[in-house]
């Protein structure tokens, strides 16, 4: 069995599991839907954070825009449910991508910790602005269009949308990371000044990366709003202290800069989260703070990073000292 076969098997396994999970565990459909949302959050964060070296604390703003645009479109138009959802998601995606395209050149021009803190401020500022803006319901938020059917069917419906989005994100990134784009953003991460000195259009690639993240985050906003049933500016849409921080943590936990890292991190984190919620209700946020400190201090390489050190050959890497380079696959 060679690597391609193993890989194919894993994909089939995960895809099938995703397809049948809500049928096998209907009572957990909402939690499973959120699992795919977490996967999407972690994957989109990792484009900037892990692959490009730009640690964003403000990606949540793109998701929040998605929530609001879909909800507002549903509120203000007379279209049927499915049409309004599709149109809403489409418009959400456009608005989110546009936001990334406009803010990108300004914000991504900053490096390192300035970028991190600036995006943190941006996320909170947008949250506060939406929380005070009457057109979008201010602090009361918006109630999106209700699914025309039973609650169980509604959960299934949104579950499969989020599952599809997560899979689409994974597949898209797999292709992108193997293209010129993937190498360019890695080069920016490894040595941005060198990348510039070699003529790479760094600004263009940086903004493009954020736009890719915005694409998926924007699309996800509408379905999540529909699933939750209520767009709250601070607790759902622009939930910096929860989703915004979790994105970072999940990607680091799983191993930033890898394709599977964010996925694994999201799964581990989400399951741990649910566990804490069940047994330590009230202390979960305290645990979150502790978890961040522990992971950052003791386990910054994450699960994939740790595996890579223990078993470099699994990743197709060649270890120093081997006389002949194996015709191994490119690093995942």
């Amino acid at each position: 069995m060679n690597d391609a076969t193993i890989r194919g098997a894993v994909y089939v396994l995960v895809a099938s599991a995703g397809l049948v999970a809500p049928l096998l565990f209907p009572n957990f459909t909402i939690q499973l839907a959120f699992l795919w949302l977490m996967v999407l959050f972690a994957l989109t964060w990792d484009i900037l954070g892990g692959q490009m070296g730009y640690n964003s604390f403000g990606n949540i703003l793109l998701f929040g825009l998605g929530c609001y645009v879909t909800a507002v479109l549903q509120r203000d138009t007379e279209l049927g449910f499915y049409v309004s959802l599709a149109a809403g998601m489409g418009l959400s995606m456009i608005v989110a991508v546009a936001a990334a395209a406009i803010l990108g050149p300004l914000i991504l021009a900053m490096r390192g910790h300035y970028f991190a803190i600036c995006t943190l401020g941006l996320g909170i500022a947008v949250a506060d602005i939406f929380a005070g803006w009457d057109y979008v319901g201010a602090g009361s938020g918006i109630v999106p269009r209700l699914y025309p059917g039973e609650v169980a069917d509604r959960n299934f419906f949104y579950y499969y949308i989020l599952f599809a989005l997560a899979v689409a994100a994974f597949v898209t990134l797999r292709v992108l990371y193997r293209s010129r784009f993937g190498l360019a953003i890695n080069a920016i991460r490894d040595d941005e000044d060198k990348a510039e000195a070699m003529g790479i259009h760094t600004t263009r690639y940086k903004v493009a990366a954020w736009m890719v993240a915005a694409f998926f985050l924007g699309l996800a906003g509408g379905p999540v709003a529909g699933l939750v049933g209520f767009v709250d500016p601070r607790d759902l849409a622009f939930a910096g202290p929860t989703f915004g921080v979790w994105m970072v943590l999940m990607a680091i936990l799983g191993g930033k800069g890898t394709l599977w890292g964010p996925v694994i991190g999201a799964v581990v984190f989400h399951i741990t989260q649910e566990f804490f919620w069940t047994y330590f209700l009230g202390w979960q946020r305290v645990m979150l703070g502790l978890l961040i400190v522990l992971i950052v201090v003791f386990f910054p390489m994450g699960i994939m990073g740790w595996l890579r050190e223990k078993r470099p050959r699994w990743f197709g890497e060649v270890v120093r000292g081997e006389a002949e380079a194996k015709a191994g696959e490119r690093a995942a």
């Binding site: 992108l176 193997r178 293209s179 010129r180 784009f181 190498l183 360019a184 890695n186 080069a187 991460r189 490894d190 040595d191 000044d193 060198k194 990348a195 510039e196 000195a197 070699m198 003529g199 790479i200 259009h201 760094t202 263009r204 690639y205 493009a208 800069g257 890497e317 060649v318 120093r320 006389a323 002949e324 380079a325 194996k326 191994g328 490119r330 690093a331």
Partner: protein, 247 residues
């Protein structure tokens, strides 16, 4: 032969310290020109000024007849003027082949190009150049895991991959095992002769630069001290005094 690079009266100061004062030089197409001078004479600063790393205080720089003084680093690099770094900079977490692939000329960046895969010709060329510098067997190693000397060779190969018109090399033999220096010199000469790349080289190793360069500029204390053919400069008392016994 026409002048490919012309530096006119360029000055650059950092705070109160004048790093370059009124420096002029020209490099003709296809030549190998050396830039020497004791430590602190402003050589690397001059390189940084030429490639747009920082703005100059006064003076002008033209490349292929075109004014580049106010252009930025990526733009100048895309015009075909590429530099290597004294500390040797490569992309540490990527393997050698990837380092080479991303070093292709970046002239057009349409959306289609940005997201497309590298065609096999790019990989072939990358492997050929890695072979040229002797790193073919190490091509799947992470660049950060290479030795310093190997990284220097990789950086050089990456520069060649970029198909520059002119290369500014900042101390290409520093830190290299003396037994390997001849090999590097030979590769530089071949890059110049076969690929037509004009070279401007900062060097401390006198044996190397005197044999490699056709024309040499000597800086001292931020100013141009002397310039001429290697044989002349070796006998120039001002140059000897500037180094004062040091190499």
């Amino acid at each position: 032969m026409s002048a490919l690079l012309e530096v006119h009266n360029v000055s650059k100061a950092f705070g109160g310290v004048v790093a370059n004062r009124d420096i002029s030089l020209r490099v003709s197409r296809g030549r190998i020109v050396g830039l020497i001078g004791p430590n602190g004479s402003g050589k690397t600063t001059l390189f940084s000024s030429i490639v747009g790393y920082h703005p100059v205080d006064s003076g002008s720089i033209t490349f292929e007849g075109r004014e580049i003084t106010s252009l930025r680093v990526p733009e100048i690099a895309r015009l075909g003027l590429v530099r290597t770094f004294q500390q040797t900079r490569i992309y540490g977490k990527m393997n050698c082949i990837q380092n080479m692939q991303i070093s292709v000329p970046q002239a057009r960046a349409t959306v289609g190009e940005m997201f497309s895969r590298f065609p096999p010709e790019v990989t072939d060329k990358a492997e050929a150049l890695l072979d040229f510098v002797g790193l073919y067997s190490k091509r799947f190693l992470r660049a950060g895991d290479l030795s310093f000397g190997q990284q220097k060779l990789l950086e050089f190969a990456m520069a060649l991959m970029n198909q520059p018109q002119m290369l500014l090399l900042d101390e290409p033999t520093a830190g290299i095992n003396p037994t390997l220096i001849n090999g590097l010199i030979e590769r530089l000469q071949r890059a110049n002769a076969d690929l037509g790349i004009t070279l401007l080289v900062i060097e401390h190793n006198m044996r190397v630069i005197m044999n490699l360069a056709e024309h040499i500029y000597c800086l001292a204390h931020g100013e141009l001290l002397a310039d001429g053919a290697p044989a002349e400069l070796q006998k120039d008392q001002r140059v000897i005094d500037a180094y004062l016994g040091a190499h």
